[in-house]
Amino acid sequence: MLNRIADMGRYGVQVIESLGSATLLFANSLMWGGPGSAGFADLVRQIFSVGVRSLSIIAVAGFFVGMVLGLQGYTILVDFGSEAALGTLVSLTLLRELGPVVTALLFAGRAGSALTAEIGLMKATEQLSAMEMMGVDPLKRVITPRLWAGIISMPILALIFSTVGIWGGAFVAVDMLGIDDGAYWGNMQAAVEFYNDVAKGIFKSFVFGWVVTWIAVYQGYASIPTSEGIGKATTQTVVVSSLAVLGLDFVLTAVMFGGV
């Protein structure tokens, strides 16, 4: 019994310790500048590997999610004779929730795990140490551009996800189910507000991008530099960042949409 409590205590201390070091890592790597800081070209290269490489999975997933929403929404709405509201349903669901959340989850699986593995491998092969010994700060050189690439890429990916999804929904609704084209888009335009729906969704994805990338680079940087340790850190990235995204989503939704 005492052992159990001691275990819990130790676990708690570990969690607080890693939160602290993750915060330090974030604070030290957020700003550009410092010994051997990365340049604009590094940021571009990281946006390529974090953002562009995730584009295809995001677009395909968005299209399917939109089509499924169209089909499912139709079967529910048709009972009330209000299938004309399908556009509203698809677009609001995507913009407010599924766009940011599903993109963040896919992003964690695709880009987050890759980031962790890459940084973990650089640590295991002493590349980070080698940088330090060359007088180059690996936080500024390696972590900063990756962190920013994630923060920049994620809202773009979420926007593309939602856009493709809305057109996927339109494909099902208008072309397959025969809902009037004007009803789909017209009701959507009447219901969707740019500031309250689109902008808040973008804000959400911005927060998610920041959290997922932060967790990914921290897990890589703090990983135990063995193949087993890197594998574990990669899994940890996906698990922790997915949970963080879902938890944060609730908080953000409560704050931004809950009071209305």
Partner: protein, 152 residues
């Protein structure tokens, strides 16, 4: 992967993001560029709002011409006050315009419907709409119906 390819595809990625944003603004949310600032405020007093929300539509003859911006209870009169922004393009609403709280469809959302009056003078910023009609509350309707049935 060549440096040019990387730079080019990142550029394309950014442009795709922009296109998505523009589509969201224009096609999905139907945002038009001029409406944000050019509005004036009018107020109306209702006995019962029956579930009208802030941000609800204000429409005339089915065309949206504004939004509800603020709802509060007047503590002298104990009636609800609704503030709404009307687009400047609709600056020719007569002083005796009437406002009613209506429902889109049978179960849809509540909105404020304006019907134009006959006076020559127009509503200005901060004016009150005097002629109002409260929301239909289903329970009251049913109660009244049963009451009249019972009298027969």
């Amino acid at each position: 992967m060549g440096k040019r390819t990387v730079e080019f595809s990142v550029g394309v990625f950014m442009v795709l993001g922009m296109i998505a944003l523009v589509l969201m603004a224009l096609r999905v949310s139907g945002l038009s560029m001029d409406d944000a600032a050019d509005t004036y405020t009018v107020r109306a007093r209702f006995d019962n709002l029956g579930g009208l929300n802030e941000r609800a539509k204000v429409s005339m003859a089915g065309v949206t011409i504004g939004r509800v911006t603020k709802i509060y209870l007047d503590d002298k009169w104990y009636s609800a006050v609704v503030e709404m922004e009307i687009n400047k393009s609709m600056s020719t609403l007569s002083k005796d315009t009437s406002a009613a709280i209506l429902t889109a469809g049978l179960l849809g959302e509540k909105y404020v419907g304006l019907s134009v009056g006959a006076e020559e003078e127009y509503l200005k910023d901060g004016d009150w709409i005097e002629d109002t009609q409260s929301a239909l509350v289903l329970e009251e309707l049913i109660g009244r119906f049963l009451f009249s049935k019972a009298k027969e």
